[in-house]
């Protein structure tokens, strides 16, 4: 039985003026054909703006086709009389968990859909309890949504859909705004619903490792279906995927690279387990790799002066109440001028609190913050000057934009600094150049794409020309292409300006690509702070404190279990390839 059948679907976004004349028309979907059988776990991939969200909204009649036909369990979505029957059977979960919860209490929220369907109160009670148990949120049933973590909220949103007892759930980037732990929780839930309850799942995602877990992957580009196949067959076409702004799992990339070197290994490999197995089957000469390292270029940091220093920094919340909590616990840290430092740690490890101390947004409850050798809370120091010297770009920084034009928005910081008009124009120009947005200066920030807005916000901080630039998850929620673009620009800026950069990220893949030093926070304490390669020599310990390590690192651990040693310092695909080649 087919749950969803899409035939020759086309969809245009049409903007009309007050008289109903068309002022703008853009094609979002072109001639899409797709059939989803019941019980399937389908992943849809594609860069931002490829039409995948528009397609998803056709599955439950939020949008209806401009041309072509969409049927859900045989019901035509254009038929308005069938609206509730369609939506009852195909539920939808969105990206932002906050914007889909209606009620102030978890169980009341889960009850929302059954209430709308006019179901008997007793039956609602059973459905709500059942749904909450299925997503492991039963014990939180009386909590308020704002007391929950992102992953928990998203699971409540899923429960709210399950309570309708749908045959299919469509998820539009449900993990994009979550931390690695939240992502794992949500993926576990999705898979369980699919395997145990037989619910059809359509997952739209930017994460290749999530798509790898699906039964089938559809790749979209420019409003059309580009590929439609098994995940391993799709990812084997790595070059084609990269052309449309996508990525492949690290082990797939590894196998491709090995093949280029003449190693006979399949490229249809997507999980570290099967990759490890395939490697053991290769004709290996030895079991232990020569632990050679590629030369690492690092600044000679010993000689440069220190720019920021934390001494015994401690921060406690709600002192003197039963809720007292130590967010940062006795941290000592020195950052030298011009360094690129990566900061990792899971949510609640204190990393966000830590960075806000560096520009005086938070006043420490103990210890000292020194910028350029001066205590920033000393009476002679103006805290605003500290903020101009240490710029912070927060997570989802595009939310801070407010001016009529991009240029004016970027000028906000420099203007607050009291610069002259010429200096402001100059600094806006330079900042826009380094973020590649010069062509957008005259536009309104609100008509830009999410990735562009993010770069405008970044430029707004760069324009103040800070000595230290702190970035909190600058690539969060972007697609692989947008992610590489923004991180590439940050790297370029670092090389050109020689300014100090602190990059907070959940993604070790990003950190290892750019950072010279890495700081790991765990439970408010500094877990370690050292050169990148030194820190990543301790991958076992990083795993033990619950951090998400790159897939190739997991591969090296798996190989070790199988008796093959390629070293405990594997964190890039290149290094893994190099080590494996020494085995052969």
């Amino acid at each position: 039985m087919d749950i969803i059948k899409v035939e020759n679907l086309s969809f245009d976004y049409i903007t009309r003026d007050e008289d109903g004349n068309i002022i703008e028309q853009s094609t979002a979907l072109k001639n899409v054909n797709l059939t989803v059988p019941e019980g399937q776990f389908l992943a849809i991939l594609g860069h931002n703006g490829c039409g995948k969200s528009t397609l998803a909204k056709h599955f439950n009649a939020i949008l209806t086709p401009t041309a072509g036909k969409v049927t859900v369990l045989g019901m035509d979505t254009s038929n308005e009389d069938l609206l509730l029957d369609i939506r009852k059977n195909v539920g939808m979960v969105f990206q932002n968990p906050d914007n889909q919860l209606v009620a102030t209490i978890v169980e009341e929220d889960v009850a929302f859909a059954p209430e709308n369907l006019g179901i008997e109160p007793k039956e609602i009670r059973t459905r709500v309890d059942e749904a909450l148990k299925q997503v492991d949120m039963y014990e939180f049933r009386e909590h308020a949504p704002h007391q929950l973590s992102g992953g928990q909220k998203q699971r409540v949103a899923i429960a709210g859909i399950i309570a309708m007892q749908p045959r299919c759930i469509v998820m539009d980037e449900p993990t994009a705004m979550l931390d690695p732990k939240g992502r794992r929780e949500v993926m576990k839930t999705i898979k369980r619903l699919n395997r145990e309850q037989g619910i059809t799942v359509i997952l739209i995602t930017h994460y290749m490792d999530e798509a790898a877990q699906a039964d089938r992957v559809v790749v979209m580009d420019k409003g059309s279906v580009l590929m439609d196949d098994l995940p391993r067959k799709i990812f084997a076409r790595a070059d084609e995927l990269r052309k449309v702004g996508l990525d492949v799992p690290q082990v797939t990339e590894l196998c491709c690279m090995l093949r280029e070197k003449g190693v006979k290994i399949s490229k249809e490999i997507i999980f570290e387990g099967e990759c490890a197995e395939a490697i053991t089957k290769l004709p290996l000469k030895r079991k232990s790799a020569g632990l050679v390292k590629e030369p690492i270029s690092t600044h000679n940091t010993e000689e440069s002066a220190e720019i920021a220093k934390l001494e015994n920094l401690t921060y406690k919340y709600s002192i003197g109440t039963p809720f007292e909590k130590t967010a940062v616990d006795n941290v000592n840290l020195t950052v030298a001028k011009g360094e690129f430092v990566g900061i990792i740690g899971h949510t609640g490890s204190g990393k966000s609190t830590l960075i806000q101390h560096l520009n005086g947004l938070i006043k420490p409850t103990g210890g000292v913050v020194l910028i350029d050798g001066r205590d920033i809370w000393d009476k002679s120091v103006n805290i605003r000057d500290v903020r101009f010297k240490v710029g912070i770009v927060f997570q989802y920084s595009e939310h801070q934009l407010f001016e009529e034009t991009v240029a004016k928005d970027i000028a906000y910081g420099p203007r607050n600094m009291g610069l002259s008009e010429e200096e402001i124009v100059e600094s806006v120009k330079n900042a826009a150049e380094s973020m590649g947005i010069t062509h957008l200066l005259g536009k309104s920030p609100f008509e830009l794409s999410g990735g562009q807005q993010r770069r405008v916000a970044l430029a707004g901080v760069l324009a103040m020309n800070p000595e230290v630039l702190i970035l909190d998850e600058p690539a969060a929620g972007l697609d692989p292409k947008g992610r590489d673009k923004i991180l590439g620009m940050i790297k370029q800026y670092h090389e050109k300006s020689g300014k100090t950069i602190l990059l907070v990220s959940h993604s070790m893949e990003d950190i290892v690509k750019f950072a010279e030093k890495v700081l790991v926070m765990n439970k408010g304490k500094l877990f370690c702070y050292d050169r990148t390669d030194k820190v990543f020599e301790r991958t076992d310990e990083l795993v033990s404190i619950g951090l998400d390590v790159p897939q190739v690192t997991r591969l090296s651990h798996r190989l070790a279990e199988l008796g093959i040693n390629i070293g405990n310092d594997i964190y890039t695909t290149e290094r893994a390839v190099m080590r494996i080649l020494t085995l052969i």
Partner: protein, 270 residues
């Protein structure tokens, strides 16, 4: 800071007061406010306050919560008390200095007002502490139901209230974040003239509005996905049912009302 305010919070529990029909609870709370305004004597006020303290004990809500809910209103209370102290004139001043003279009547009235506001807040807080916002809006919806006949949008109103309550904490958090972000760009919010301060709010308010509209848009779609189609044919997870405990509560409240009226004539404390 903003997060410490406890007014409007709900503490789940299983006490008889939690379990009361929220319609009855709402009406009785309104009656309690009426009582506070009809009482003329300290005796009545103190009796009302004592009654609430007993209710807090029954509802197993920590009495410290009372202090917490009073804290944000403190400036207003003190302001009222000082005004009364300064402007209520009696016959013989207790104390006179320059243009200020304080009369015993002034002291009495300002104390009376203080206790009355305290009793008011304590009473209203009990309602929100023991009733989930959904139950409360539900109660309002049911109580206003007769107005549907004159095409008053009762369901829409209560839905809006629910959503507002749901998003207050989210928007507070968001305001905090935007403020930090603008401060990091050198915004000054607590210095300068009133005009300058008002102007410095623009970089906070505009992003806040933009995000609120975006949220509203996404929420509307999410609600549609969950088959929302207005109040027609909607059932509720929790049914509002009156039980014997509600009638007992009504009787107790009426007795308190009667007692307080009597105390107006025969005050124990003058």
């Amino acid at each position: 800071m903003i997060k410490d305010i406890t007014i409007g919070q709900y503490f789940p529990g299983n006490s008889p007061i939690h379990k009361m029909d929220s319609r009855v609870k709402l009406l009785l709370d309104i009656l309690y406010l009426v009582i506070l305004f009809t009482t003329q004597s300290f005796t009545g006020l103190v009796a009302g306050l004592l009654f609430m303290v007993i209710c807090y004990l029954i509802a197993r809500i920590n009495l410290i919560m009372i202090l917490k809910s009073v804290k944000p209103i403190m400036p207003l209370m003190l302001f009222t008390a000082i005004l009364n102290l300064l402007f209520i004139k009696g016959e013989t001043p207790l104390f006179s200095w320059w243009i200020i003279s304080i009369y015993p009547e002034g002291i009495r009235t300002s104390l009376f007002m203080l206790v009355r506001i305290l009793a008011l807040i304590v009473g209203m807080s009990l309602l929100t502490y023991t009733t989930s916002p959904i139950m409360l809006t539900d109660a309002i919806e049911r109580l206003l139901n007769p107005l549907k006949k004159i095409h008053f949008p009762v369901h829409e109103l209560s839905m809006m209230m629910t959503i507002a309550l749901r998003f207050i904490p989210t928007l507070i958090e968001e305001t905090d974040k935007i403020m930090s972000a603008q401060k990091a760009r050198g915004a000054e919010m607590d210095t300068g003239s009133i005009f300058k301060r008002a102007k410095s709010l623009i970089p906070i308010l505009i992003p806040l509005f933009v995000s609120a509209f975006k949220r509203a848009n996404e929420l509307a779609t999410a609600m549609e996905c969950r088959c929302y189609h207005g109040g027609e044919g909607r059932t509720r997870l929790r049914q509002l049912k009156t039980a014997p405990r509600d009638y007992i509560a009504i009787v107790i409240m009426l007795m308190l009302f009667a007692g307080i009226i009597v105390m107006n004539f025969f005050p124990i404390i003058p």
